[in-house]
Symmetry: C2
Subunit: 217 residues, 2 copies
């Protein structure tokens, strides 16, 4: 396969939107989540993000990159004032509504109402969950760390409450998120279903990985 | 759909490996990349990672979380000493070899040789690319930032050289990574192909998103 070579000079010469699409595609497939928050007046806010990543299991930490100059501005302010937010997996029944949450609605307007997604609450957790999401969890804010290199903000939260169908949890703790219809994102606006190739056994130097037998086999 | 409720007490009570599988599944689908590096003696190193994420387009920055106590130890040391590394998309032809790169080979042993993946070099870039990957790029180290909260390391690199088939680049800059057979990961060891649902138009408050017409339509 002949590969095109692209260097820094070529990247710098790209038109701004072209470069945004192009560079956003490089990291690979991304997680698709809706961040649910409320402001000081109790107005709910919902924003799609593709920058959520695993940070650690003990304690259970999840990272999220927020770009202050793009839409989820209310999201960051709400997380900082309430120290609480939810993450809700986007599935194929709500992908277009999830995408619509990125529109620049006026302050005081809830994206839940505008997109037709329903908010649901759990006692003791101030942030709203997305009713239509099948895997959703609440986080307590642990750190907000501005990254000096480009002005983005790393938000780190600790998972304190999780909701999911118990049937999706396999015997070893793995959650079959494909069975929950969770989707994935590439670039800025491309959505994809997934198709399992299998799980592999823990890799050891002296033998090749095998397909793991799972609950669903 | 009835959802099981899991709280901090339940999370803390989980057996360690169970919790690792479980919490690693929460963030959603992850990128699948091989990090290529060399050490001071010129011995190459290859490690699969699922923690690469987009950080910004201008300048083109990519983040990577490294856990010092797990396998890609050589990776971090090599990145710090050479300030150079490559990221190579994992595709469905090499997923098992990519997974095998996570085995704990002895120091001085190249994972390229052990897994059967081929290294290829570009003039001016010290780190090896994976020949079998269809989208691969080199990064110059910009920052190594230890995250005090759990001892993981955030590595930030600037993309300086990219190789991919030019046919995968759409008119607006989006790279059709599904056409390159790039795969995605969930949890610690589950691999998935993708199936495009489409791209959506930029969201605006006053109208619903439409399917974007792309080069391949």
């Amino acid at each position: 396969m002949t590969l095109k070579q692209i260097d820094s000079t070529d990247i710098n010469a790209m038109e701004q939107r072209f470069r945004a699409h192009f560079i956003n595609s490089l990291s690979g497939f991304k997680s698709a989540n809706l961040v649910g928050t409320v402001d000081a007046n109790g107005v709910s806010n919902l924003a799609i993000v593709s920058s959520v990543f695993h940070l650690g299991a003990t304690p259970p930490l999840v990272g999220l990159i927020i770009r202050p100059d793009t839409v989820p501005r209310g999201t960051l302010a709400n997380i900082q004032s309430t120290e609480c937010y939810t993450l809700n997996h986007v599935n194929s029944a709500i992908w277009q509504q999830a995408h619509q949450s990125s529109a620049r609605y006026a302050t005081g307007v809830s994206e839940f109402k505008q997109t037709g997604l329903s908010e649901t609450y759990v006692e003791g957790i101030c942030a709203p969950f997305v009713e239509q999401s099948h895997l959703r969890y609440a986080l307590k804010l642990r750190e907000v760390q501005p990254l000096a290199i480009n002005g983005t903000i790393l938000v780190i939260g600790e998972v304190i409450h999780i909701q999911l169908p118990h049937t999706a949890i396999q015997q070893d703790g793995y959650i079959d998120i494909e069975s929950l219809d969770t989707i994935t994102i590439s670039g800025l606006d491309s959505y994809h279903r997934t198709q399992s190739m299998g799980r592999l056994t823990y890799a050891k130097p002296d033998k090749l990985p095998q397909l793991l037998q799972t609950d669903s086999d």
